[in-house]
């Protein structure tokens, strides 16, 4: 495996010195020591992670309405039957897919283009690094609130103030259904494109120089070098970034909730927000748990993909 700065899940040790073949006798002492070392974390994770997730799946089979007239009790697959007929559920899945794929696409394209364009000795790289680091370490809720007020408020926000110089606007950034979806995608892209940029820059630095020198001698142009050398070499990193960012986008909640609250209407209501509203606004914990179970299934599929990829890389 190459020395790429892949995300942690992809970088389990591949050091042959640590590896032993199965034929070699496994040390009983080592086995016992390993279990001693992992058991505290396993115990905690089982208790605070696995147990709640099992409870989630179970709750999805019950009717638990903390407010409302229907009596609570075992409901079998009723929640899931309701879900299939629930237009708002399907709409939230669709919104989630649009939100995820567009924002991941833009993060990837902008991040890669910037990394390529700025990959040479430049003054001011240090300032750029700080500027790119800040969005990523800020709480998404603070970012969402800032965009909702200082940046996207019609007339008074900086985007409209900027556009007014060209005689444009004001625009109802967060109150028009389509524009609101564009806005929350923009916010997510703003906050996380720096991640893609940093990862791509790091892997460009780790690239071997020989293929490029050879290509230059052969007279290959800039675009040709990019397409035939850089892109294939970057492929594993691109896949890592896509999966990681997809996973994060599926989990998005704070920034959307604070910028639009899922609105106007349900225009920016991704599945996460819908499950939240059902569980903690309508207090239908049973149906909310069923929606949570769907989210869990999606996560399982992505994790499996990540894991397969990691093993493939090894």
């Amino acid at each position: 495996m190459s020395d790429l700065p892949s995300a942690a899940p992809f970088a389990l040790p591949t050091d042959p010195r640590v590896r032993q073949t199965k034929r070699q006798r496994m040390g009983v002492a080592e086995e016992r020591f390993a279990w001693l070392m992992i058991s505290p974390s396993l115990l905690v994770l089982l208790l605070v992670g696995t147990l709640p997730l099992a409870a989630l799946i179970a709750m999805g089979l019950y009717r638990i309405d903390l407010i409302g007239y229907r009596p609570d009790g075992f409901a079998g697959l009723e929640n899931y039957r309701d879900m299939v007929r629930d237009d708002r559920f399907w709409a939230s899945v669709w919104t989630m897919l649009v939100y995820t794929f567009t924002s991941v696409f833009f993060q990837l394209v902008i991040g890669l283009a910037l990394a390529m364009a700025l990959f040479r000795p430049l003054k001011g790289q240090g300032i750029l690094r700080v500027a790119l680091l800040l969005p990523m370490i800020l709480a998404p809720v603070a970012v969402g609130l800032t965009w909702r007020t200082l940046i996207l408020t019609p007339d008074y926000g900086i985007i409209d103030a900027f556009l007014q110089m060209f005689g444009l606007g004001p625009y109802p950034w967060l109150t028009h259904p389509t524009l609101a979806l564009v806005s929350v995608i923009l916010i997510h892209t703003w906050q996380w494109t720096p991640f893609a940029f940093l990862v791509f820059t790091a892997s460009l630095h780790a690239m071997p120089t020989e293929p490029f020198e050879a290509a230059l001698i052969d007279g290959a142009g800039g675009w040709q070098r990019f397409r035939d050398i850089t892109l294939p070499l970057l492929r594993p990193v691109i896949v890592v970034v896509i999966i990681l960012r997809t996973m994060i986008a599926f989990r998005a909640f704070d920034a959307i909730y604070s910028a639009t609250g899922g609105g106007p209407g349900t225009a920016t209501e991704i599945l996460n927000l819908y499950a939240y509203r059902i569980s903690f606004t309508s207090l239908s914990l049973g149906y909310g748990a069923a929606l949570g179970t769907v989210l869990l299934l999606i996560t399982l599929m992505i994790s499996w993909l990540v894991f397969r990829l990691r093993q493939h890389n090894q």
Binding site: L128, L133, P135, L285, L295, V306
Partner: protein
């Protein structure tokens, strides 16, 4: 020929620097704008076009502090984040070492299990947590919040630490073992000192992730344990147009995280390309 080349070069230079400045601008202006607004006198905040030059004032900070809850929320965030980070790092360090170095049955499935836990949907954990904590009377308590934050901090820390442990050459432990050290001694006395940097970065990341959470906190906290993220949100929920005190609160709430990040920026950038923070 060389003349043409040189002028072509300088055009590329100009274009690259324009792009660099534009990128710095796009990513730093929103952040700087928050800081600037927090220092603006109230009457200037809604000027259109916006006022750039003004005499800074701390009146927004005073107003934010008087509204109450901010100082308390910073204390709450500190308590919750520090404990969930420390507990996580304590159990994650030995586990990560085992996953990266030791050979044992179930290693692969358990590694996958840790990954699953890291990716588990927050909403899927929150619903049963809310149900259980409300039954146990543990809503709005530090214990409840610290417990659910462990689901973020532990798997994340294990994954990040695995990569740091993998960078330490195994020969050193082998040598210690030949010198008669037990496995545990080798881990404690040889590996741990070398892993200090990685452990520090992991601690910082876990802390930031816990500090920045909003979803768990907005459901499971209350007046007694409300952290800063919920406090900032409440500020605007009450009154949409209080931009001055809102930005002042945001600066105070994010200040600790930004300070840590600026001090450790090189390590954080490296860690980010390894593991990435939760979004």
């Amino acid at each position: 020929m060389t003349e043409a080349r040189r002028s072509q070069r300088s055009i590329v230079d100009i274009a690259t620097y324009t792009l660099l400045i534009a990128a710095i601008f796009i990513w730093s202006v929103p952040v700087l704008w928050v800081v600037m607004t927090s220092l603006k006198p109230r009457m200037l905040i809604f000027n259109s076009p916006p006022t750039i030059l003004f005499l800074p004032t701390f009146s927004n900070y005073i107003e934010a502090l008087e509204t109450g809850g901010i100082v308390k929320s910073i204390i709450n965030s500190t308590i919750i984040s520090v404990f969930s980070t420390l507990l996580a790092v304590i159990v994650a360090v030995p586990a990560a070492y085992a996953y990266s170095r030791l050979r044992f049955r179930m290693r692969t499935p358990l590694t996958f299990y840790t990954l699953l836990m890291q990716m588990a949907p927050p909403m899927g954990l929150l619903i049963p947590f809310y149900f259980a904590l409300s039954k146990l009377g543990l809503l709005d308590t530090y214990v409840g919040l610290i417990t659910i934050y462990l689901t973020i901090t532990i798997p994340f820390s294990i994954w990040l630490l695995i990569t740091y442990f993998a960078e330490i050459p195994p020969e050193l432990e082998e040598a210690a073992k030949i010198d008669g050290a037990t496995r545990f001694q080798a881990f404690l006395q040889v590996v741990m000192p070398l892993a200090r940097g990685g452990i520090a970065v992991t601690t910082i990341f876990a802390f930031i992730n816990a500090w920045n959470d909003f979803l768990y906190a907005v459901v499971l906290s209350g007046p007694n344990t409300q952290p800063t993220t919920v406090a900032i949100f409440g500020f605007l929920a009450a009154e949409e147009s209080r931009w001055g005190p809102f930005t002042a609160t945001a600066v105070m709430a994010m200040g600790p995280v930004v300070a840590i990040a600026l001090v450790a920026q090189k390590h954080i950038v490296h860690g980010l390309s390894l593991g990435g923070v939760k979004g």
